[in-house]
């Protein structure tokens, strides 16, 4: 008895996937001009940092990096158990930039909508693209990621968990039965 876990990505696989996403971003945008990375709290932040490190290794350039907290824009805010709001920190002008929004898991699409609303209140970017490590399907809004690490269609009794060493102590993506 207990939770049955399936491993989707192990440590190496996580790293490889992030590397692939990084290259896809550079390829699609034909380089890094006017490009910036914004990670959605919480794990999106660490993914954004890693992507930025990999870009430095490849192109020897560090892109502007921002942190976005979307609590104030959520449409399900009234059901939140914990009301914590954390800071949004975007220390650059995002007007006319191409923003790569980065998150760990994409599910209903509501987080993405909230993130877009939040960004629109901060300025007028040229483009917004979305990168996620896992797309677990089951959309409730017409949103799509431009870059996805893996697709995994999760059944109602399952949940996808992304663990990153910066905050969880290890790198892995697993599916657990709830």
């Amino acid at each position: 008895m207990g939770k049955k876990t399936v491993s989707l990505l192990d440590k190496k696989a996580v790293d490889r996937t992030i590397t692939r996403i990084t290259h896809e971003i550079l390829e699609k945008n034909k380089g890094y001009e006017d490009l910036c990375l914004i990670g959605i709290r919480t794990r999106g932040i660490y993914l954004a940092k890693r992507i930025n490190d990999k870009i430095k290794a490849v192109e020897d350039i560090v892109l502007p990096l921002g942190i976005l907290d979307i609590t104030m824009y959520r449409d399900d805010i009234f059901k939140l158990k914990s009301p914590e709001v954390k800071k949004t920190d975007i220390p650059f002008d995002l007007n006319n930039m191409t923003i790569i929004l980065i998150d760990d898991v994409m599910h209903t699409g509501r987080t993405t909508r909230a993130a877009i609303d939040a960004i629109m209140d901060l300025g007028r970017p040229k483009k917004i693209q979305l990168a996620v490590l896992v797309d677990r399907g089951d959309r409730e809004l017409p949103m799509h990621p431009d870059y996805a690490g893996i697709f995994y269609n999760v059944s109602p009794e399952e949940a996808v968990l992304v663990r990153l060493r910066e905050i969880d102590g290890k790198d892995e993506v697993i599916v657990v039965r709830t």
């Binding site: 104030m72 059901k79 800071k87 939040a118 209140d121």
Partner: protein, 307 residues
């Protein structure tokens, strides 16, 4: 941490944890007032009523801006224009407003306990915007926020409050809040304006303002009224000002990085001189700015979610 308070009636009811939680949340809300689009949709569709039985521009405007920046709708009711003049009791006012289903009421009243009465009759969240000489919780929260912002801490500070302590809700709320922290509080004012049994709260009292501001990290000046209910507590404003008015010379006794605070509105030249009010140590305008952030945090925590 879990926040399950429906009302904010006083600092007395908050734990240290809860106070810090409000301050931390206020941090995030402060940024919104700095950007170009000074709005977030967080309280969209919510209604906030300000019910002010005592006049106020500062506190009311602060709450109104806070609510609007969270996308809530606001309505202002003041005693002179309301049914209060026609003799409607507070209880009836509460019940009438309740039928219109507001989400939050901010009430300012001249008598202690009025918000508590309101809360008894209303399902909406009640925020105490000042009840007589009892409490003014959002003022204390914004004062603590300002202190923390300027000093990077609240513990270990010497805080002096000067003025009509006995009749000051700002003094009371600040004392209740600061007592959770490792601070040394000194209350200063003419003996007629210091509450009789203040020693029972274990707080230091100093009648002499020079001694009171010695080594102070924070000096909080309160607004002075010469008379209350026709009884003179001090012989004249002139005399009060010469004995207790904060002047530049006093600051030499305080710490080098002392900050000067005032809940406003100031009586320039009476409790605080022009030089001090406009000088480099004054954080009075920061307090006003922080007031909006703290009130946004308060509204968000009280009505932003189902408790």
């Amino acid at each position: 941490m879990k926040w399950n308070k429906k009302d904010l009636l006083g600092i007395r009811e908050l734990t240290k944890e809860e106070i810090l939680f409000v301050l931390d949340s206020a941090d995030s809300f402060k940024d919104i007032s700095k950007r170009e689009v000074k709005k977030v949709p967080t309280l969209r569709g919510k209604t906030v009523i300000t019910l002010f039985y005592e006049p106020s521009t500062r506190t009311r405007t602060s709450f109104e801006i806070a609510a609007k920046r969270l996308s809530a709708d606001t309505i202002n009711i003041s005693a002179s224009t309301s049914s209060y003049i026609k003799g409607e009791t507070l209880k009836d006012t509460a019940k009438n407003l309740e039928s219109m289903k507001p989400d939050a009421i901010v009430i300012r009243h001249s008598m202690p306990g009025a918000p508590h009465m309101l809360s008894k009759y209303m399902k909406s969240s009640v925020i105490n915007g000042g009840d007589g000489a009892h409490e003014h919780p959002t003022q204390a929260l914004l004062d603590l926020f300002t202190i923390r912002e300027k000093k990077n801490r609240i513990d270990g500070l010497n805080i002096t409050i000067v003025g009509d302590i006995a009749h000051s809700r700002v003094a009371r709320s600040n004392v209740f809040a600061l007592r959770h922290f490792n601070t040394h509080i000194t209350l200063c004012g003419p003996p007629t304006m210091i509450p009789h049994d203040i020693e029972s709260l274990g707080i230091q009292v100093e009648y002499n303002v020079e001694k009171a501001v010695q080594d102070a990290d924070v000096i909080m000046m309160l607004r002075i009224q010469k008379e209350r209910g026709g009884i003179a507590y001090i012989p004249s404003i002139k005399e009060y000002s010469s004995i207790y008015g904060l002047k530049t010379e006093h600051l030499k006794r305080a710490k080098k990085d002392v900050i000067i605070m005032h809940p406003g509105p100031m009586n320039r030249g009476i409790e605080i001189s022009d030089e001090v009010a406009d000088g480099p140590y004054s954080v009075i305008l920061d307090q006003v700015e922080n007031g909006v952030a703290v009130r946004m945090a308060t509204l968000y925590l009280l009505i932003g979610r189902e408790i």
